[in-house]
């Protein structure tokens, strides 16, 4: 039988050493809600698990300084329910509380969340498996292109892969210009979230800017007034417990009733958390009106490339963003 070693690390250093010592086939495991799932689907076959769920202080949530700091080991549920986050940064709290289910949020960490993998059904189908998929088996092709692509991305796609980046929290973090704090054998480094996620290009199996053995230690989010006028709107195939068909994270910094700076990111429609700069620019110095909001929504999808069954995501995405802009705008009144 396939054997699996398991160690529980107490400190980041211990974890990194254990990972290096284990060699090929090592994986960190935090809440396990992604990793175990991928193991059952046959996507992941780790030989060594380094458990980082109980690293000392890894679940720290600190909202007292100039930045919000979330330890990678903090639970989704704890961040979603944090009073300061809920009051001053609803976009962050909502992106978490609208994800997965309460049971999962009680297990899953905000660090592990950054590294979840796509829900593309061809990628995930281990049960009767064997679909061509460049993410699972580089070079094998992409079954989603020309297939049942209703859920696939319309932004950031390549001829090798159209899979949606599934997470909600990374979308909110992208809007809020977060930084991912990483610790590796060579020391610590910080990666702006905009650089943390790669476009699929010709190498869709490479998704994150993180090296094997490196640990995400935390996430920092610069404090901003815009946080108060923020929201995360998620539209999906049912009212709860589903991934986004289209979502929008919006935070507005205001000058009176004019928008000084809009921060916008989209989910459910793109191959990575999608910063919508065109929409942001369009809102600059404007007041909050439904037609302007919709124009911003449309601008965000100007470069969209739909497949056979997912063209509706362009209109839905635009309207979702427009609704989110209106909701964020209403918060300041």
């Amino acid at each position: 039988m396939r054997s699996l070693s398991y160690v529980q690390a107490k400190t980041v250093r211990e974890a990194i050493e254990a990972y290096a010592a284990a060699g090929e086939g090592a994986r960190y495991i935090a809440g396990g809600t992604t990793l175990y799932d991928l193991m059952k689907l046959g996507v992941e076959r780790p030989a060594h698990l380094v458990d980082i769920a109980s690293l000392e202080g890894a679940d720290r949530i600190d909202t007292s300084g100039d930045v919000l700091f979330f330890g990678a080991g903090a639970l989704m549920a704890d961040v979603a329910e944090n009073d300061v986050v809920r009051r001053d940064y609803p976009v962050l709290a909502e992106s978490l509380s609208k994800a997965a289910s309460q049971q999962l949020r009680n297990m899953a960490t905000v660090g592990g969340n950054l590294l979840q993998r796509t829900r593309c059904p061809y990628f995930r189908n281990g049960a009767i498996g064997a679909y061509p998929c460049n993410k699972r088996a580089p070079g094998s092709g992409c079954a989603a292109i020309g297939g049942l692509d209703r859920g696939q991305a319309v932004l950031g796609i390549s001829n090798a892969c159209t899979a949606v980046s599934p997470g909600d929290w990374p979308v909110a973090l992208t809007a809020m210009d977060a930084t991912v704090e990483i610790q590796g054998p060579a020391g610590p480094r910080s990666v702006p979230i905009a650089e943390f996620y790669r476009l699929p290009g010709d190498t869709p199996h490479l998704e994150f800017e993180i090296e094997a053995g490196e640990i995400v230690t935390g996430i920092s989010v610069p404090k901003t007034e815009a946080g108060r006028n923020s929201t995360y709107l998620k539209v999906r195939d049912r009212e709860s417990y589903a991934f986004a068909l289209a979502s929008a994270a919006v935070a507005l910094a205001m000058d009176g009733d004019h928008i000084r700076q809009a921060n916008i990111a989209l989910g459910g429609v793109a191959t990575r958390p999608w910063r919508a700069r065109e929409a942001e620019a369009l809102l600059n110095l404007r007041t909050i009106e439904p037609d302007i909001a919709l124009a911003a929504g449309r601008a965000a999808f100007a470069d969209a490339r739909p497949g056979e069954h997912n063209a509706f995501k362009i209109e839905l995405g635009a309207r979702t963003l427009a609704d989110a802009i209106m909701t964020a705008g209403r918060k300041m009144q």
């Binding site: 039988m1 189908n125 281990g126 009767i128 079954a143 509706f312």
Partner: protein, 726 residues
């Protein structure tokens, strides 16, 4: 008495279920149990050229790997999966190198542990010679059957349609749906006390055991089927599964107990499901909305090899007083696994199409949809001319309209708007389900200690059949529910009918009731006097007898004693809806209120009101639960569920509960349920008609009609999703 029966009584097994003490088939503690896992086919059609099991053999813990070469002596009989009782039909995987659908088992790995079995199964290498296929009825190699499967007609419907003042001619498409009961399908086979016992959550322990014995060439008496509880069946567990005979044969060959719990991802391929279907509906009415003609043609997507009927046409002509009718149901065959019965198998898709068409007709005539239905109410069947044993559909509509405050409805779509700007739509639709019964053999034993034991036919699938049996015994004998042992679902205690088609309650309630009445009679013979008010066991004790046992055969109306013999041999035999002097159906009316968000087109079902005529209500609590469950299924059908097939690969792509979208709690608003609660004594002595299936018939149509009323969009396929309304 009625008071007692319809009491809001807790389920007799609620406690043990909540405590996790109820042992389902896969929970049986059996010493030395081996674990099995299947290797699913990754092609939709073709032949197995070679199986390389070397790597799998080397997995530590693997005991044996079975392939088609080990199982070639298994017979594909009319009991096999997909045969539906017909000789020459059906397909039992692993009896030859032929692969007929994606996901079918091509090897079975048996190991000491589940982990070893899974790893072994993944290590088996299969080389196939694939063949061209079509997995959808629209595709090139799909084969339509030359003859219709079913036809019904009365009068010259074409001519009446041509002459009608108002005509509707529409086509509705219903997708493939999967039951997904929470209890996965498991099979455990073990030699115990000289017999081969098969534990499987099934709705048909006798047919199951007899059928398996036939496939394996065993004496039926050497094999016993045990289905202690069924964790949701809905028709998916009403026969032999693809895996059943494989596990039983593996246990027989290894002479050791073997268990297989089929993973959900594979169940989407090996177990039954509701097939896709197309429905062309033509309705013709005069200026007053009287239905002059109904023409109904359906097409259903079947596998190449199954004997599953297409029966959409059976109920719609019975809904209203059609002056003429013409219907036919056709089958198109493709390269998939066999479809089968799923809660209201044909009644639900048929009611979806025809009740939505009625909504379109109401609009064309300019009539309120409730009024249109009331204007066409009928007390006899347009096809046979026989009266209905009971029909209170008009009562269901009237009471429902009142509870729902239907008078708020405005015919113009989009006219009702909620405070938050959402469009409000109200819709109505009706349903029916045949009143069937089946034979039962019931043994009832009363002990002087007060204990009471009953063994009868029936399977507990969560619908509360134990509670129904208990209710009758409590009423007639006054026994203490805490001292009552109910043995059902076990061929070791009594022959078992298939519990399906909503005939469970209508068969078992009269059975329990007549056994209880016979016991009273015999007790009074023993005591030599009419029974007193004292508890029956006290009266029995006085006769110095430790116990008294009676056996009753209940034979449904229009059948003779031969049906008992059939039951003993595991041959399904039911009656209805046609009886010598009448037709029997349960009826229901559903009212739905939806709110549609204008910007994102999200549909929310705020409230459903359902009023059912199911004869006498045996237990208000379980009956209401049945209807709520049926409505949730209707909402799921209308707005959420579809099994999706990529025509390039076959199989079901969204084969798990994350991707096969069923409603969650947040999708379900208020569901208010009421009953007419009028006994139908023509049908049986308990006055009950079925409820489990009629509960969902028409529910989806009510939601779809409400969506039209909100948006003005006639969406003629299911599920209605955001992209349909944007």
């Amino acid at each position: 008495m009625t008071q007692e029966r319809t009491a809001d009584r807790p389920r007799v097994d609620a406690y043990e279920k909540v405590l996790g003490r109820a042992l389902y088939a896969a929970d049986q503690p059996i010493a030395g149990l081996l674990h099995a896992m299947t290797v699913p086919a990754t092609i939709a059609k073709g032949r197995i050229e070679a199986i390389d099991a070397t790597a799998a053999q080397n997995v530590r813990g693997v005991v044996r790997i079975f392939t088609h070469e080990d199982f070639s002596q298994i017979k594909t009989t009319p009991a096999a999966r997909g045969a539906y009782g017909q000789p020459g039909k059906g397909h039992q995987p692993m009896t030859s190198p032929v692969v007929r659908h994606r996901g079918e088992p091509v090897a079975l790995v048996v190991a000491d542990t589940l982990e070893a079995a899974i790893e072994g199964a993944e290590a088996v290498k299969v080389r196939y010679a694939p063949e061209p296929f079509s997995a959808r009825m629209e595709d090139e190699l799909a084969s339509p059957e030359a003859q219709p499967d079913r036809q019904l007609s009365s009068g010259d419907a074409e001519a009446a349609f041509a002459a009608a003042d108002h005509r509707i001619d529409v086509e509705y498409l219903h997708p493939q749906q999967h039951h997904n009961p929470i209890e996965l399908i498991s099979t455990t086979a073990a030699f115990e006390d000289g017999e081969l016992r098969i534990y499987e959550g099934t709705q048909a322990a006798s047919a199951f055991a007899g059928g398996l014995a036939g496939m394996m060439g065993l004496e039926p008496t050497r094999l016993r089927g045990v289905s202690p509880y069924t964790g949701g069946g809905f028709g998916q567990k009403n026969g032999i599964q693809e895996q059943s005979v494989l596990v039983a044969s593996a246990a027989a060959l290894l002479r050791r107990p073997v268990k297989l719990v089929m993973p959900r991802g594979q169940l989407f391929h090996t177990a039954s499901y509701r097939p896709r279907s197309r429905h062309r509906v033509r309705l013709g009415a005069d200026g007053q909305g009287r239905l002059l003609a109904g023409l109904y043609e359906t097409v259903q997507q079947n596998s190449r090899y199954d004997g599953f009927a297409c029966d959409h046409g059976a109920n719609p002509p019975r809904m209203y007083g059609y002056h003429t009718w013409q219907g036919n149901d056709r089958i198109v065959r493709v390269d998939t696994q066999t479809p089968g019965h799923q809660r209201a198998p044909h009644e639900h898709p048929a009611s979806y199409a025809t009740e939505c068409a009625m909504d379109e007709l109401a609009e064309a005539v300019g009539m309120d949809p409730v009024e249109l239905r009331l204007a066409n109410d009928a007390q006899s069947d347009p096809i046979t001319g026989k009266p209905y044993s009971s029909r209170h559909l008009a009562g269901c509509l009237r009471r429902g309209a009142e509870m729902f405050d239907w008078s708020r409805r405005i015919a113009d779509p989009g006219a009702l708007v909620a405070d938050n700007g959402d469009l409000i739509g109200l819709g109505v639709a009706c349903g029916s389900y045949k009143g069937s019964m089946t034979a039962t053999v019931t043994t009832l034993r009363l002990f002087a200690s007060g204990r009471c034991e009953i063994a009868t036919s029936g399977h507990e699938m969560g619908q509360g059949i134990r509670s129904v049996i208990a209710a009758e015994l409590i009423e007639i004998l006054g026994v203490d529910p805490a001292k009552l042992d109910i043995h059902i679902g076990d061929t070791g205690h009594a022959p078992q009918h298939i519990t399906a088609g909503s005939w469970g309650t209508g068969s078992v309630a009269p059975a329990a009731r007549s056994a209880a009445m016979k016991l009273r009679e015999e007790l009074s013979v023993l005591t030599g006097a009419p029974l007193s008010e004292e508890p029956v066991h006290v009266q029995l004790a006085r006769t110095r007898r430790p116990s008294l046992e009676v056996t009753v055969n209940t034979i449904p109306l229009g059948k003779d004693a031969q049906i008992i013999e059939q039951l003993r041999r595991g041959i399904p035999s039911t009656t209805g809806p046609e009886y010598p002097d009448f037709m029997a159906f349960s009826w229901i009316a559903h009212f739905a209120e939806v709110h549609v968000e204008r910007s994102t087109a999200r549909v929310r079902v705020k409230r459903v009101v359902s009023v059912a005529d199911c004869g006498r209500v045996m237990n208000r609590r379980t009956a209401e639960s049945q209807v709520r469950g049926g409505v949730v299924w209707g909402i799921g059908a209308a707005l959420r569920e579809a099994g999706e097939t990529d025509p390039r690969f076959g199989g079901v792509l969204n084969n798990d509960l994350a991707e096969y979208v069923v409603p969650v709690n947040a999708d379900i608003g208020a569901i208010d349920v009421d009953f007419i609660d009028q006994p139908d004594f023509k049908l049986n002595m308990s006055g009950v008609k079925g409820l489990g299936e009629v509960a969902m018939v028409g529910a989806a149509a009510a939601v779809v009609n409400a969506v039209y009323n909100a948006t003005g969009r006639r969406i003629r396929h299911l599920p209605i999703r955001i992209e349909d309304l944007l």
